[in-house]
Point group: C2
Chain length 326, copies 2
């Protein structure tokens, strides 16, 4: 069965689609009420983040747009030190989309939401003309426990930067699909709850956390240096990259510094706690390849010490990067 | 200037677009922090709703996709008795979109957000191939004051149904644009804060509120009858429709019962408070044409007493309605 414009009518066909696909996978007490808005109980400070996902292809090695959207929004919530609680999802379906593909993607969202500890509390579906593609918006709410204060502007001279793992996997995976190159590169798409909770359980005074998505590490480091009014210096040799991804990037002239990821983060921590923080991250499923990749200094701008020993300044990503990577 | 794929890169061009367009219009203390997620303070019960908007054309008589998305999400929050507080917005821009059009739409969102008392706390932009169109997702958070409990399942025998004004305006407006018919029909797109607050200020025990959007009154009434396990009977002669819209609908064979609206709601109230509620609604800017249109009875299903005196059952909308009406 294919999606038709009638599935976007708000009438009978919409209701059937909701029951058959979304109802089946997302069933929970809040959604089952089918009201205009979900009613939730929250207390104190919350984090709120929104993201639209337009990745092409919809299904790729290591994930799909459904897994991606849950992980992407959950990770944004985690980066503010919050515990992700609720997600909303807005689907824009193109006419001609295979309902089996939709079912698979929604099932993947539901599975990933359970893994990340969030419940999907509200949804919306629209249908547009097109070629059987789809877009998903996810917006998330997390609760920030007392005492956690994370911000891009918190970094201070002496802090160290931990990168949770190999960079460039998602970028190389999506590009391989598009170019129809056979390799074993898989997207790193993952929810980072384990890493963030490990840092707090180890009592680390986490200054800044950022997930390294489109724009890559280079863009994130520049943004942090600017927000905190500091200089950040990375060690090129310390930046973890999977050898297969490195080879792929070298052939295509890509710099892992600007390649997109969907399951990697950096944490900026005080120098005195850096080893404890690194151990905590490495003990998690998603942080086994973590490395200390650089340090915060007085000054301004983002710099990298290359493997030849030279230090050069680098900027945010210019140009298009990889279109529709997330 | 036109939108290019580079505007979706997450790098320099994305940042410039954010600064030039979104930063200019949406400036506020939360957004200015530019973190991965907004940090908000809320207490107790909140309402949360999400909606994607795909309306075509982007700009129409009485509104545009920007006004529409703010009003649509604000109205969903209001329908749960909440006071709308925060909005997130996710933009999916098609390559080739005129930046001036984007600027106009974002300005319209900002103006409407001020009118509805909400602040825009998080955003995201993606760019896809296409023909210069755009989609917007808005997700909203509202605070529910103590003592308010609204639900589609609250209706009881004897309750009366108030409709806040003329039905079908938005539907007829969008269709007129598409068919290039010249008339003076304008979209009813509006935030309904004034009506909801008037009802509560008048001390009305509001049982159920629903905005009457895609799917029309027919679909909403059926959903309420089912949720509350009651029979609802409407009086066709009481249902308010603007004469020009009535004429337009008659020519095209459309039934106002299934036509979409973007600034109309129904409220179900106890019989004893119905006159007070009607007066309260009529005293507001967006409720001047309000009418009592039906009543809740024991039984099940949705019925309408026609102007000929016959009573017939009606169902939810079948088929496609009007594609991309919101």
């Amino acid at each position: 069965m294919k999606i038709t414009m009638a599935h976007g009518s708000g009438g009978k066909s919409s209701a059937e689609l909701m029951g058959d696909i979304f109802g089946k996978h997302f069933r929970n007490q809040v959604l089952d009420k089918m009201e205009d808005a979900a009613v939730l109980s929250v207390g104190g400070k919350i984090a709120c983040s929104t993201d639209s996902f337009v990745v092409s292809p919809l299904v790729f090695k290591g994930g799909d747009i459904g897994k991606l959207c849950v992980c992407g929004t959950v990770n944004d919530l985690l980066m503010m030190g919050s515990v992700p609680k609720y997600l909303t999802c807005g689907f824009i379906l193109e006419e001609g989309l295979d309902v089996e593909v939709l079912d698979q993607i929604v099932e993947s969202m539901a599975r990933q939401a359970r893994a990340a500890g969030v419940i999907i509390v509200a949804g919306d579906t629209k249908v547009v003309e097109g070629n059987g593609g789809m877009y998903i918006n996810t917006t998330g709410i997390g609760e920030i426990p007392e005492g956690r204060y994370v911000s891009s502007s918190n970094c201070e001279e002496g802090d160290l930067i931990i990168c949770s793992g190999n960079l460039g996997d998602h970028h190389a995976c999506i590009l391989s699909h598009r170019m129809e190159i056979e390799n074993s590169i898989s997207s790193d798409c993952a929810p980072l709850n384990d890493i963030v909770e490990a840092l707090y359980e180890a009592g680390i005074n986490v200054k800044t956390m950022r997930d390294v998505t489109r724009g890559g590490l280079g863009t994130v480091i520049n943004e942090i240096a600017e927000s905190s009014s500091v200089k950040i210096e990375l060690e090129e040799e310390s930046i973890p990259v999977n050898p297969e991804v490195k080879g792929f990037a070298d052939i295509l002239g890509l710099d892992p510094l600007y390649m997109g990821n969907e399951g990697k983060m950096i944490a900026v921590v005080p120098c005195a706690q850096a080893e404890a923080a690194l151990s905590a991250v490495r003990a998690t499923e998603h942080g086994v390849d973590a490395r200390i990749i650089g340090k915060v200094k007085a000054g301004e701008g983002a710099y990298i010490k290359t493997h030849l020993g030279a230090t050069r300044r680098f900027d945010v990503l210019y140009g298009e990067g990889l279109p529709r990577i997330c």
